[in-house]
C-alpha cells in the first residue's frame, strides 16, 4: 500500500490559521505530540527529525539520520514522478543561519535524498537568526519572516515550471506564507505549493 498525500482542506484549515483556502498545502502524517503520548510513528519520526544540533555527540543522534532517511522515503513515494521530475523544490530555511552552531539543514538533506535529477535549490535564505538565546522559539508571523528572507533569483534560472516549498512540519503556516510571497514576487506566473512531512494537530482546550 502506498501512502498518499493529504491536502489541507476546509476540514483542517482552521488548525493552520496563517493559511487560507487559496493555499495549496499537502502533508503525509499528523504530528500530535504531547507529554506522555508518544506512541505514533509520525510523532516519533518528527521528534527525531527535530533533534537539536547540539546533541551531535550523543548516541541518540543516529535517530536523526534515520528520521531524515524515513522522511525522504515517504516523500519520494507520495510524490508523483512527474512532479519529482519537473518541479523545483525549495526548502524553507531553518531558524538559524548557516554560520550558527545550531544551523540545521535537515530539510535540505531530506530533499537531497529524493533522488537523482530532483531539482532542489536553496534559493531562499534567512538573513538573521530568530531563535531567542534561551532555546525558546519565537513565533514570527508571515510578514516578519518575509522581512528576514532573501531570494537569490539567479539560483532559479531558467524560470521554474512549478515551485514546491518543503518543510518538515506545517504548524501555523507562517513560513509557507512568507515563502510563497517572496517566490510570487520573483515569479508571478509560477504556481507555488507546500509539501510537509507532517502537519501539527493543535491541542484543543
Amino acid at each position: 500500500m502506498s501512502l498518499r498525500l493529504t491536502k489541507i482542506d476546509e476540514l483542517t484549515l482552521p488548525d493552520h490559521y496563517r493559511l487560507d483556502i487559496t493555499d495549496e498545502c499537502y502533508f503525509i502524517g499528523e504530528y500530535t505530540a504531547r507529554a506522555g503520548f508518544d506512541y505514533s510513528a509520525t510523532n516519533d519520526l518528527i521528534q527525531n527529525l527535530k533533534k537539536p544540533m547540539d546533541r551531535k555527540d550523543r548516541p541518540e543522534w543516529k535517530y536523526k539520520a534515520w528520521a531524515i532517511e524515513q522522511a525522504a522515503k515517504q516523500m519520494r513515494k507520495a510524490l508523483p514522478s512527474e512532479v519529482l521530475e519537473y518541479a523545483t523544490f525549495i526548502p524553507v530555511p531553518p531558524s538559524r543561519i548557516k554560520t550558527d552552531d545550531l544551523y540545521d539543514d535537515r530539510v535540505v538533506q531530506i530533499l537531497q535524498k529524493l533522488g537523482d535529477g530532483v531539482d532542489v535549490r536553496e534559493a531562499v535564505t534567512q538573513t538573521e537568526d530568530y531563535d531567542a538565546s534561551h532555546g525558546m522559539e519565537v513565533r514570527l508571523g508571515p510578514d516578519e519572516l518575509y522581512q528576514l528572507y532573501e531570494i537569490e533569483t539567479e539560483l532559479l534560472e531558467p524560470t521554474p515550471m512549478s515551485l514546491v516549498v518543503v518543510d518538515d512540519v506545517l504548524t501555523t503556516g507562517a513560513h509557507f506564507k512568507a515563502m510563497k510571497r517572496i517566490l510570487n514576487v520573483a515569479f508571478p506566473d509560477v504556481p507555488v505549493v507546500g509539501v510537509f512531512v507532517a502537519r501539527r494537530v493543535p491541542e484543543y482546550p
Binding site: L3, R4, L5, K7, E10, Y39, S40, T42, V83
Partner: protein, 303 residues
C-alpha cells in the same frame, strides 16, 4: 501550451472523502460488507471516485452542520491510504474505508486490549471488568471498550480511575451517545483520550432508528482489529459481544474468556470459542502471560 507535463499533486481531501463516504452510505442497500466488497474490487479507488464531487461536498457540509449542531466542535477522519490510517484495521473482514474520531489519534498505536461484555452484568461482572482494566493499566496497556452500559462502562471508568488510558469504539455516530447516561464519560474520553466511530452520520439520522442497532455489533469487529486481544468478561448466548469473539478469532487476535462464563450452565459459546483457540482465564496472569510485552516507546530523545 497544451502539452506541458502535469505538476499537479494528487492528494486526498478529507472533506471530500467524508462527503463521498456519507453519500455512498446514503444509498439504501449500503452496508459495511457491500462497501468493503466495492473497494476490494477497486483497490486503488477512494470514496470520491464513485461519487459526484459537487454532491459529495454538499453532503460534507450537511454532515459537518449536523456534527456542529450536536456540539462536536473538533473531530477528525481517517481514510484508507492517507496517513495515520491504522493498517491493523485491514485485518477486519469488511474493513472500514473511513472513520471519525474525537481526541488523541496517536493513542490508536499504543498497545491495547479490549475488555467487553454484556450491558446487563452481574455485580461480580462489573467488578471483574474493573479489576482486569486495573491490571491492564498497570501493565501499560490501553483499555479499549465500546462505551455501552454494563461491562464496557466499568472497564472504561476503572482504567481512568487507575490513571490509565482508554479508547472508546462506539456504535453510534461520533455526535451521538448511547446510552444517554454515558454522555459525560464519552466527552471525558474524547477530551482526554480517544473516541472512534465508523457509523455514518447522515444514514444514522435518516433511517428508521430501529435499524441503527445493527451498527453496534459492527463496531465490535473494528474494536477487535484495533487491539491485540479481546477479554470477554460476561456475555449471554445471543450477546453482541460474541461478534467480537468471532472477529478476534478470524483476525488472529487473542481471545480471552473469563472462567465464570464457562461455569455458567446456561452458556454454550465459551466451549465453542475455546475449541477455536480462545483462552480460558482463571487469573489475570492467564491474560498477561499470553500477551506480548507492552512496547514501551523507545526513548529516542532525552525528554
Amino acid at each position: 501550451m497544451a502539452t506541458s507535463p502535469s505538476t499537479t499533486i494528487p492528494a486526498i481531501s478529507p472533506v471530500l472523502e467524508l462527503g463521498a463516504y456519507e453519500v455512498l452510505w446514503a444509498k439504501p442497500n449500503a452496508s459495511f460488507t457491500s462497501l468493503a466488497a466495492m473497494f476490494r474490487e477497486n483497490p486503488d479507488k477512494l470514496p470520491s471516485d464513485f461519487v459526484d464531487h459537487a454532491w459529495a461536498m454538499t453532503m460534507a457540509d450537511t454532515v459537518r452542520g449536523m456534527l456542529k449542531a450536536s456540539g462536536v466542535e473538533h473531530f477528525g477522519v481517517r481514510i484508507y491510504r492517507a496517513g495515520e490510517y491504522p493498517s491493523k484495521l485491514r485485518d477486519a473482514e469488511a474493513p472500514v474505508e473511513l472513520l471519525y474520531y474525537r481526541g488523541w489519534w496517536d493513542l490508536v498505536e499504543a498497545p491495547s486490549v479490549a475488555v467487553v461484555g454484556t450491558r446487563n452484568p452481574s455485580p461480580e461482572g462489573i467488578e471483574r471488568a474493573a479489576a482486569i482494566a486495573r491490571f491492564l493499566v498497570k501493565d501499560k496497556y490501553t483499555v479499549v471498550s465500546g462505551l455501552a452500559a454494563g461491562i464496557d462502562s466499568s472497564a472504561h471508568k476503572s482504567a481512568i480511575e487507575a490513571g490509565g488510558k482508554t479508547i472508546a469504539v462506539i456504535g453510534t455516530p461520533i455526535n451521538k451517545v448511547y446510552p444517554r447516561e454515558n454522555e459525560a464519560l464519552q466527552n471525558f474520553i474524547a477530551n482526554n483520550f480517544l473516541v472512534i466511530s465508523q457509523v455514518p452520520v447522515y444514514r444514522y439520522e435518516n433511517q428508521d432508528y430501529r435499524k441503527n442497532r445493527f451498527f453496534f455489533p459492527q463496531r465490535n469487529i473494528t474494536m477487535s482489529a484495533l487491539t491485540e486481544a479481546t477479554v470477554i468478561v460476561e456475555a449471554g448466548e445471543t450477546s453482541g459481544t460474541l461478534t467480537q469473539a468471532r472477529a478476534a478469532i478470524h483476525q488472529g487476535r487473542k481471545l480471552f474468556i473469563l472462567d465464570n462464563c464457562f461455569t455458567n450452565p446456561a452458556l454454550t459459546w465459551p466451549q465453542r470459542f475455546e475449541e477455536l483457540g480462545a483462552i480460558r482465564v482463571t487469573k489475570y496472569d492467564d491474560i498477561r502471560n499470553n500477551l506480548s510485552k507492552p512496547h514501551v516507546p523507545e526513548t529516542h530523545e532525552d525528554r
